[in-house]
């Protein structure tokens, strides 16, 4: 399984903070995004946003990043702390 977490505006838009997916057929972040976007129109729209950031196991990554079972993947908007 892959644990997927969402933060901030993204979490509110999806009304979801965390979910788990089977890692079967998911090789990269891009695959995972496509899988999530296929859920419905709202998810499709949210994952069409190219500004979205991704992290795997607490490190920022790009869409080509490989993922595997046991990973924690996060999606979130550009950060605005400080």
């Amino acid at each position: 399984m892959i644990k997927v977490v969402f933060f901030a505006a993204l979490r509110e838009q999806l009304n979801c903070s965390e979910l788990s997916l089977s890692s079967e057929n998911l090789t990269t972040i891009a695959d995972l995004k496509a899988e999530l976007a296929s859920k419905d129109d709202k998810w499709q729209q949210v994952f069409a946003n190219s500004a979205l950031l991704s992290a795997v196991n607490h490190d920022m990554v790009n869409s080509e990043q490989a993922i595997e079972a046991g990973d924690e993947v996060a999606f979130f908007p550009p950060v605005t702390g400080g």
Binding site: V5, F7, A8, A9, E12, A51, A55, H58, D59, M60, A74, F76, P77, P78, V79, T80, G81, G82
Partner: protein, 154 residues
């Protein structure tokens, strides 16, 4: 509360004391002649709107890891003595302290550069998000291109 892995990094809901933090940076530290601090506070206005409060969300675990990487990079690039980063989360009000970065060094140039570097990278890499409450309602702040550009200059 998040479990903090390094004494140099603290993510907390509670306020902090600038004086206490600087006292710790200076305690039994007679070799560092320069101490630079940055304090970020909640402003009463943002892009023309009256702000009543800010709510800060973060990604526990990744926050500490990303800050640790930023501090590690700063220590490689400059000759630093001690470093401390505190970032508050939760709801904060006008004038409240949000973030503290304190750096000591033998020489001022390293302390200034490292402090600004840490803030610039915190702004674009550490997973914090601000939601603003204004008279017009609540909204998540947009990231600024200027922050991206500023970090890219280092």
């Amino acid at each position: 509360m998040t479990e903090n892995t390094s004494p140099e990094i603290s993510i907390q809901t509670t306020d902090f004391s600038l004086a206490d933090e600087v006292a710790l940076l200076e305690h039994e530290n007679a070799c560092d002649g320069a101490v630079v601090t940055f304090t970020g506070r909640v402003r009463d206005r943002n892009e023309g709107k009256h702000v009543t409060s800010l709510t800060l969300e973060h990604y526990p675990g990744m926050t500490e890891k990303s800050l640790a990487k930023i501090l590690c990079t700063a220590k490689v690039r400059w000759r630093l003595g001690r470093v401390k980063v505190i970032h508050r989360v939760g709801e904060l009000f006008i004038g409240d302290q949000i973030v503290f970065v304190g750096v000591t060094s033998k020489h001022r140039q390293d302390a200034f550069a490292a402090n600004e570097f840490i803030m610039d990278y915190l702004k674009v890499q550490a997973p914090f998000w601000k939601k603003e409450s204004t008279e017009q309602g609540n909204n998540w702040l947009d990231a600024k291109t200027s922050d991206e550009n500023k970090a890219a200059k280092w």
